[in-house]
């Protein structure tokens, strides 16, 4: 298994449980949609899986390595080398050009391949925009840059948190098509958080989170 969540528990400060004995797994090359109502804990689960956030009990295993013993530096190294993230808010670096943003994660992971990045820019329709800064792009274009940045390091696992949540219907469809196409092309696994059943239907598997439990 590439990613395993085994009886994971997590509560917010104050004691309110947000993940209650959650277990799920994801194999290499698989795509999994995680759905649920607002506040159901979808993003929290993704953050835990991405080693962005800690958990109170259970275990998360990525590529066979448990996350709970890792310190901050170990978690950072894991995020850098073993997975990639796409956020709802794009989270591009505003002071870097499109080309620099595309290459950023790959450079940090020391896996920068200019030809691959150029191919990504072409696939994502960004070739004409590489010298622009994010503030001069539309929301859909920014999210395409974010996907390109995530895929530039050729990750084994892509984690996407509501990647189309800030986009209109047309842009959403384009972004989703591109992301799924690239995942298929690279053989990466995908864990996608969404509240849209239509989007979830396009992935291999679906899991629904409700009251902190997978149902």
């Amino acid at each position: 298994m590439l990613l395993t969540l085994d009886h994971v528990r997590k509560s917010y400060p104050g004691g309110r449980p947000v993940l209650n004995d959650v277990s799920l797994s994801l194999d290499a090359g698989q795509t999994l949609a995680l759905t649920g109502e607002s506040g159901s804990g979808k993003s929290t689960l993704l953050h835990v899986a991405a080693a962005l956030d800690g958990f109170d009990g259970g275990e998360v295993t990525l590529k066979g390595s448990p996350l709970s013993p890792l310190d901050d530096a170990g978690r950072a190294e894991l995020r850098r080398n073993s997975l990639s993230l796409v956020f709802q808010q794009f989270n591009l670096i505003p002071s870097l050009t499109v080309a620099q943003n595309l290459a950023l994660h790959a450079r940090l992971a020391d896996r920068y391949d200019p030809d691959w990045v150029a191919h990504l820019a072409d696939r994502l329709g960004l070739t004409e925009l590489v010298d622009r800064y994010p503030e001069h792009l539309s929301g859909g274009q920014q999210q395409r840059v974010a996907i390109g940045r995530a895929m530039a390091s050729k990750p084994a696992l892509l984690l996407a948190d509501e990647p189309t949540g800030n986009l209109d219907e047309t842009a959403s469809a384009v972004v989703l098509d591109l992301m799924l196409g690239l995942v298929a092309e690279t053989g990466a696994a995908l864990l996608l958080v969404t509240h849209s059943m239509d989007i979830a239907a396009r992935l291999d598997r679906r899991a629904h989170l409700s009251g902190g439990k997978i149902t």
Partner: protein, 804 residues
Amino acid sequence: MTRAILLVLLSHWRMHRLQLVTLLTGIALATGLWSAVQAINAEARASYARASDQLALGQFDEIRDPAGSISLSRYVDLRRAGWQVAAVLDGSIRIEGQTVRVMGIDMVSAPALPAVTQTEQSATPPEPADILTAPGRLLVSPDLAPVFEGLDGYPPVIVSTALPPSFVLTDIGVAESLLDRSGQISRLIVLPEQPLDIPSLGDVAPGLIRTSPASQLDTAQLTDSFHLNLSAFGLLSFAVGLFIVHGTVGLAFSHRRGMIRTLRALGVAMPHLVRIILFELVTLALVGGVLGLVLGFFIAGALLPDVAATLRGLYGAPVDGQLSLRPAWALAGLLMAIGGTLAASVHALWRLSEMPLLAGPGVQAWRGSATSWRITAVTGVTMIAGGGICFAMFGGLLAGFVMLAGLLTGAALLLPLVLSLLLAALSRRANGPVAQWVWADMWSQLPGLSLAMMALLLALAANIGVGTMVSSFRLTFTGWLDQRLVSELYITAGDDAQGQLISEWLAPKTDAILPIRSVELPHETGPLFLYGVVDDPTYSEHWPLIARSPEAWARVHNDRAVLINEQLARRANLWPGDVLTLPPDHTLPIVGVYSDYGNPTGQAIVAMPVLDSIVPKVPTRRFGIRVDPSVATDLAQTLRDRFGLPTSAVVQQSAMKAQSLAIFDKTFVVTSALNVLTLGVAGFAILTSLLTLWTQRLPQVAPIWALGQTRAQLARLELVRSVLLAGLTAVLALPLGLLLAWVLLAVINVQAFGWRLPMHLFPADWLRLFLLTMLAAAVAAALPALRLLRLPPADLLKVFANER
């Protein structure tokens, strides 16, 4: 990876060039002003050391006569007894309106002085006989070469670069004639090589005292207080500059919160990020520091001539007016830049490092809050109390400055809370929606502007405090000059004999002739100048006594009593009722203490017969003449014509006062310049704060624009907001400035110079400063206001379209 992270961090400055310029300017200003002061201090101290080395002083023991000059016979006795000593005669002459220090030394027995060695090794060395026999030779410093050029009546001149400025070195025989002090010796230099079997000094020349180099009061010690004062002002300027750095770094880091969060999400560990940010800060500090060093070098170069003149006038200290670049100074400046930048950034960096990975990127997190203001205010009160306690426990000049630093920093930290309370109170009294919005808006802007306002408060308080101190000093000094310089004419005769002739000729033509006779004596507090005065009502009617016994002047003339100056009184803690001990064994009751501004050394006054009994044969070459003021000018000219005196030997009271005031004003040129520069830095801090806050202004003003206010009205309100905040700060700076003035006058001056001054108030100066502050605030706000005025409506609409 490190390179990639560094490029990401540096890309921020490409997008925010104004922030970069502001940050570098803040570092450069802080470093520049501090380094300028340090360059001046270093140059002055290097001059003292150079002078000491060049004269080979400060390395030999000396023999002095506590009673004044050493007689020729005693010198001969010592030489015959086998003592290897060299005679020295010190003095000064006026040439072409310039005071020139003359040192005559027995060239036959003297140690190898650098200037003499340099002359001997030159391409055309003079014959030794030419130096030792009449007319002799004058070795002069390069600055004196043009002064002696074309002057008759002086021996031939040899220019030597191995001499301090305004200095003449010659054989003692030539110096006797130059100084008109035949047969006198100021001191003897004890040469290092002495026979083993020489008799003791007490046996050969009883009464003479041998002193080691360590116990000789040198120029560097005399001028320590002056340099410490300059350093304190430099430190204040440095602190004001760091406010800009602190504000800019805080804002830059807040703008980068999103970038930092993304980098961490992409797998960069926080400790690694912090190390790279530290590297970035040090690099920026080095760039700003180098700019600051260049700035400081030019400022120091501009100020040094005045400082040199002040040090020469006040202390007779030999200081070159030329600045040289010293590696140690540059290194210290860069270290200050780095240290200051890191100190100003540590809070923002700490907050950044503590930011949770999943925190939002909001700029607001950087800003203060009512709670943090209260914590800051408590810190401020603690610092004020800590400074006060430090001074109460330890006393002294350094503790005085610690108290001052605590007061200023503490008051600055109190400012945000005080301003917020004031704004809240004013907001409650506002009528009409726009007025209510303006006050509320000012309150909401306060966190972003509070650092600039703190810098402004410090600069204004320093201006008011130092201005009040200088003006009080000037007022007191002017009044004191009126009291002290009561004689209508001041005459300097060529020698004792001429002095006697002039005195006899003047006797029937004047109301009184007041001889000015003095001698330098050693004292535990340093050199002490003993003056003799004749029994004349001029003294008792005009001499300014700040503490006195009953019938003080009568006791001076009848009971061998003494008056001492304030410096000596405070240093030795001697007051009326105590006794002053003078060498070898004179004890004189103290009956009064007089103020004596501008004089760094101790001084005492006795009746003329007492002076003669303590030190016989003190020269009588200078006189104060009491005469009807209407005839003073004619009499001065008659004296010059009749006795062949140069113009400078007969000086009228008004000229003497003007000369004294000119020296006084020159003394504070540096202080005034630093005052203006500090205020300029504070004005710049307001400008940069307003500009950096500009990015957050649109969401605040767009709703008001949408509700019907025009952009012109909003632009005007921007100006009003800045001016009002600066005005409130200026009002709060007034009591702080007056408190600062009081500390300077009652604590720092007393500790540094030994005199205490009365405090005077100058409301007109405050008003001028207040108006200047309003103007500076308006100018600083003009650019953001202009931007707002010209802002396309489409940009304001973006706020509502959520496209920003």
